[in-house]
Symmetry: C2
Subunit: 151 residues, 2 copies
Amino acid sequence: MQKRGVLMKAPGSSDILVDELFATTVRLRAFTDARLRECGASVARVRAMRMLAASPEPLRMRDLSEMLGVAARTTTTVVDSLEREGLVARVRHPVDRRAFLLTLTEVGRERHLEAEAVDREALAAATRGLDAADRERLRELLAVIREAVEG
Amino acid sequence: MQKRGVLMKAPGSSDILVDELFATTVRLRAFTDARLRECGASVARVRAMRMLAASPEPLRMRDLSEMLGVAARTTTTVVDSLEREGLVARVRHPVDRRAFLLTLTEVGRERHLEAEAVDREALAAATRGLDAADRERLRELLAVIREAVEG
DNA sequence: CGCACATAGTGAGTATGCTCAGTACTATGT
DNA sequence: ACATAGTACTGAGCATACTCACTATGTGCG
């Protein structure tokens, strides 16, 4: 990763909270992605595989989009790349012919386990300065923001 | 913005804190960008214009990158688009012929003020559920994560 | 039944982030 | 002075997010 300067305060803005939130997320994603790239994964790919691995039933594209909290088009792109590498299989829905059912392939399941381990390690490293109470508090604060913007 | 389902817990992961951080930021950016797009701006563009407006001296591309906390290439892209619309001027540095000096044009200054007002309103709306102590606590928690990933 | 509307997914195009490689220039050390 | 190292920026190309428009299909109502 490229070396960068410290996050600077914007003198024209009295409230840089949101700026810090953006900046923190960009760095955290870069940090995690760098580790995941070594095993051919990424934050978006791990998240998608995690949902597929955890679901007892095959998921539709739509289901996956909602679980990931991203637009349908974004899911198409991620699934395209996972399918190209043979990690995910798209099968036509037996009843609803508009839809696909997604499942992890055997290779996909293996890759998911590796990537999940790397991901867990990265997340633990990123949040090593926070104790259980801090994490809970952070979750609460983030939830307040989500509520405000999802109205 | 597209309607989406509630952020779902990933059953395979015991710690979804980071997932929530990513998801919250994606939504917050979408929320803010939607408001800014109405006056032809965006989060990245406002941030860049803010730094230029606040600086008493013209900035180099490099300075701006560091202030924004993004890669040099990202700054090139943002400045390209601002320059194309006549909001920012790139002038060759009088001494260091590798560098440019960036300044807001008159139009750029006007647009910045409009966008800044919209931005402030959006940020206030997004964080309306947080009191001063909450904001300070959130800032601290984010700073802990940034320290952990910037080592 | 048949029309209207809704839903599932993707193509096209955009924005914002990244890396790596390359060009042009500056700075430094012997 | 000259080679070497470092810096400033951009081109090329990728990843992940978005919207809008489109096709194909399902659903529901008169």
